[in-house]
């Protein structure tokens, strides 16, 4: 929160010079109400950040209340983990359609409101399931919640692009990301307390207590829904005042592209799935692990379980810059995977202070996110990027759903040591894939592991080439004056994208596809 306020202050200072673009014909509006003024955009930014807060808060409710859920609903760990699996199932398919539905079916405003409603309704069903002592109803709730959650993240990023394109977009994405982490962290640390208070109030534990605690957690979703409504109103208003267009994701998904995917891309998919299944299900089951193995109190266990999110909030931008400056993505990915493996092995085989291992995991995880996801853009032509990212998220969700249930079953039958070894084996698979990717890239002469310097050199070459072609094209254009002139800016970007050069975020039209929840988490 402090971080957010500081950032906003910085923004205010930077933007304190008045902007004099306002139409002279109109009566001047107060700064907060004028869509062109920074103060107003900050209001919108705050709304955007809180838009996702509810869904991030409620996503990890089960992890924060694992012991309570299992005790009150009388379910084993496999059934408990099904709560996470049910969240992932709809997203195996929805990853491909979220962008489409926002662009073509609902529009950004209605899309956001509808997805927010899904999130709210899902959480209410989830809580009702607990109150009525019907676990299947809780699963239904998570399914509905899943339909809304991931698509809401897409909508959130589309809003960000539409309001902040070309200016503070990176910062805005960063802030949204931090907000997501804050949501998860607050949830981990506060839900136990909420449950405890409700228990005090009712005088007993039980499924009713759990349901009411979850319902109280659900108020964050209502809050987010209110944000969605306000945002829709402000966006509509801005459209009228500024005559701007409704934001679009610009995602193009063509499933037939899948057959053209190259070997390096498939390897990247394997890394992605094998890596993330060893992180999220572990966090989902982590609390009890720290209580049982390391004798942590419930509060401490919540704190350490959320440390991965806490670390990745400030580290993600740092690593983002680092990877941008240095290049050599594969080397970074190898480092991150090895660090994660070390951390899992430390947790499995030692009684060393688990804060060390978890901090290492947090750092490794942030590094991986920064190094792995941009690689896709290097190995896929631009027009297939939407499909590639959609596919990647889809199989990631599939992997998460299956492994979540498998992890629960392993824990019930063979305990945490075995579970940790299973996760280590998954990370090892990711390591195998990344080592293979390294050699494949080396033999094929790919640019994945180039240093930033080398990339820059090639980028310059490419620029020169682009300029030369541009010249020829212009000459041709003069000849064919009837042809519609193309914006040279976008043209250059397209060439650079084809070459796999890294562009500033505001120039990349596919960036919003990057911004699904599972990607940025």
């Amino acid at each position: 929160m402090v971080l957010l306020e500081e950032e906003e202050k910085a923004l205010l200072d930077e933007g304190s010079l008045p902007k004099e673009h306002g139409g002279p014909a109109r009566k001047p509006l107060p700064a907060v109400c004028d869509p062109q003024r920074l103060a107003h955009r900050l209001l919108v930014l705050a709304l955007m950040c809180f838009l996702g807060f509810g869904s991030y808060f409620c996503y990890d409710n089960p992890a924060a209340l694992q012991t309570q859920v299992q005790r009150d609903m009388k379910v084993n760990t496999a059934e408990f983990m099904a709560l996470y699996a049910w969240y992932s199932w709809p997203n195996v398919i929805l990853c491909f359609f979220g962008g489409f539905m926002i662009d073509r079916v609902f529009g950004i405003r209605w899309g956001t409101i509808i997805f927010s409603c899904f999130v709210c309704v899902g959480q209410v069903i989830f809580s009702m399931g607990a109150i009525c002592n019907a676990f299947w109803l809780m699963e239904v709730g998570r399914f509905v919640f899943g339909i809304g959650g991931e698509s809401l993240a897409v909508a959130q990023n589309t809003y960000a692009v539409s309001w902040f394109k070309g200016k503070e977009l990176n910062l805005v994405f960063g802030l949204q990301l931090s907000m997501a982490r804050i949501g998860s962290t607050v949830n981990m640390n506060i839900m136990g307390w909420v449950y405890w208070k409700v228990q005090d109030l009712l005088g007993s534990t039980g499924h009713t207590t759990l349901g009411i605690a979850l319902l109280i957690g659900g108020t964050t979703c209502i809050f987010s829904l209110v944000c969605a409504l306000l945002l829709a109103y402000l966006d509509k208003r801005a459209e009228k005042i500024l005559c701007k267009e409704q934001g679009k994701t610009g995602e193009v998904i063509k499933l037939t592209d899948v057959k053209d995917f190259s070997l390096p891309l498939w390897l990247i998919f394997i890394i992605c799935v094998c890596y993330y299944v060893a992180v999220f299900p572990f966090i989902g089951l982590g609390k009890v692990f720290f209580i049982e193995k390391f004798k942590f109190s419930s509060q401490e266990a919540s704190a350490i379980n959320s440390i991965v999110y806490v670390i990745s909030a400030p580290m993600s931008p740092v690593f983002g810059i680092l990877v941008d400056k240095v290049g050599r993505n594969i080397t970074w990915v190898i480092c991150a995977v090895v660090a994660t493996l070390t951390s899992h092995i430390m947790l499995a085989f030692t009684f060393w202070n688990p804060w060390v291992a978890m901090c290492l995991l947090g750092v490794a995880y942030s590094l991986l996110a920064c190094a792995l996801w941009p690689m896709v853009a290097f190995v896929v032509p631009e027009h297939q990027l939407g499909t590639a990212y959609g596919f990647m998220q889809s199989i990631q969700n599939l992997g998460l759903a299956i492994i979540a249930i498998a992890a629960g079953m392993i824990l019930d039958s063979r305990g945490y040591l075995f579970l940790e070894i299973f996760f280590s084996a998954c990370v090892c698979l990711a390591l195998i894939a990344v080592v293979m990717l390294y050699f494949v890239n080396l033999f094929r002469g790919g640019d994945l592991n180039w240093s930033a310097k080398k990339r820059e050199k090639f980028q310059k070459l490419a620029m020169a080439e682009a300029k030369r072609r541009e010249k020829i094209r212009r000459q041709n254009e003069d000849d064919l004056a009837k042809l519609q002139p193309k914006n040279d800016f976008s043209l250059r970007n397209r060439y650079l994208c084809r070459l796999g050069a890294q562009l500033p975020a505001n120039c990349v039209c596919h960036l919003s596809a990057l911004a699904h929840r599972s990607v940025l988490k």
Partner: protein, 406 residues
């Protein structure tokens, strides 16, 4: 190819692991022959005395399980394979039972010890489940197991599975028990292996399992917790030690990382030692799963100086001046932590421990764990080495066909 091969090997290993687990029951040469005997030399079944005799190559372990007085397990280790138990029943059931139980020949007896289950505490666990922090007014009157009425063992004895069940109900004075009962299920082993149901204790042929079960007992409060008092005896100047063994391995008892054991103080001149070993978990179901885990807590050993008439078996074997010749210590084990539901929700609790001669069994990693780790860590390493070699051999080729542009 290499990777695929090793993963296949892993699958085979998994299957092999399963087979080893299943074929656990068979006897090896050198494993003792175990026989059960109910009330040896006495026709009546009004009292229970179960004699388990495990004959090894040149030694014998006698276990005497009895509910005469408080439920007691007496362990006698002899250095002869023909030692026998003699019970003088009239003396044993009289008020001065000293000398009623003997193992002959007397000079073959090398070590003896005993464990007595004396009392069941019940207390109000609303504020805390920690027995040592509970105020005196939150304790209900305790159940003295010696005052229970124990059902006859006849019909409860399974000579092939080497198990027996002592079932007792409260005689009524100490509060309502409804139709609930307490039972001690005793199992002897002919070989070293691991139990099937949780907590899957690893046992050797030198040990026996005792499972304490509370079924359908009516608690006297809404948040009642129970605790069991166990008394252990050590002969001569030695004492008992309570140890906690923390292990990273919870493969067989999921999420339980601690083992507690009551062992004999190490002693140079004495032959033999014994142990009582348990995992810090009880279960609230007859077919225990992980989610039925009830945490148990144990408390420091207390020295006991006086003994009442309920220790008839101990007096019968160790003599009248029991307190002088032996050191007695008591340990409490409470069932349930703050996170566990109270007893009344399931109305069932079972807790298992091993009683045995010698050193307590130590757990090790299973073959499967080691196999998975070796394959998982080995494959990327091999891949890295092979890849590096290929790169090195490729680099040795002259790259003359390359010509700089411009």
């Amino acid at each position: 190819m290499l990777a695929a091969g090793s993963w296949t090997a892993l699958a085979l290993l998994w299957a092999a692991g399963g087979c080893v687990g299943r074929s656990a029951g068979y006897r090896r040469r050198g494993d003792p022959k175990v026989s059960l005997e109910y009330n040896p030399g006495w026709e009546s079944s009004a009292v229970n005395l179960l004699h388990t005799r495990a004959v090894g190559l040149n030694d014998t372990i006698h276990y005497i399980w009895s509910t005469i007085g408080a439920p007691t397990a007496l362990l006698v280790y002899t250095g002869s394979d023909s030692s026998t138990l003699h019970v003088n029943w009239t003396q044993l059931l009289s008020s001065s039972p000293a000398g009623a139980i003997r193992v002959e020949p007397a000079d073959s007896v090398l070590y003896s010890t005993a464990v007595v289950f004396t009392r069941l505490w019940e207390y109000d666990g609303t504020n805390t489940s920690d027995l040592s922090k509970v105020h005196a007014e939150h304790f209900y009157p305790s159940y003295h197991l010696a005052n229970f009425t124990w059902a006859s063992l006849e019909g409860q004895l399974n000579k092939t599975a080497l198990s027996a069940e002592f079932r007792g109900v409260s005689s009524g004075r100490e509060g309502t028990f409804w139709n609930g009962s307490i039972s001690f299920q005793v199992t002897a082993y002919e070989g070293g292996s691991r139990d099937g149901p949780l907590p899957r204790l690893l046992h050797s042929a030198n040990s026996s399992k005792v499972e304490f079960v509370m079924q359908g007992v009516a608690p006297r409060g809404n948040r009642s917790r129970f605790a069991l008092e166990i008394l252990a005896l050590e002969q001569g100047g030695r004492r008992k030690l309570l140890q906690s063994v923390r292990s990273i391995d919870d493969e067989y008892t999921p999420t339980i990382f601690e083992m507690a054991q009551l062992i004999s103080e190490p002693h140079n001149n004495s032959f033999g030692s014994s142990f009582l070993q348990w995992k810090t978990a009880a279960y609230s179901s007859q077919n225990p799963q992980r989610e039925d885990t009830v945490h148990c807590q144990y408390y420091p050993l207390q020295v006991v100086n006086t003994t009442g008439p309920e220790f008839s078996i101990l007096r019968a074997y160790f003599g009248e001046d029991l307190e002088r010749r032996c050191s007695l210590s008591a340990v409490n084990i409470s069932f349930g932590s703050e996170n566990n539901e109270a007893y009344e929700e399931k109305g069932y609790l079972s807790w298992s421990a091993l009683v045995g001669f010698g050193e307590p069994p130590r757990e090790g990693f299973s073959l499967l764990v080691i196999g998975i780790l070796a394959v998982a860590l080995g494959t990327p390493a091999v891949l890295l080495i092979v890849g590096t070699l290929v790169v090195l051999t490729r680099q040795e080729k002259p790259c003359s066909e390359y010509e700089p542009i411009n």
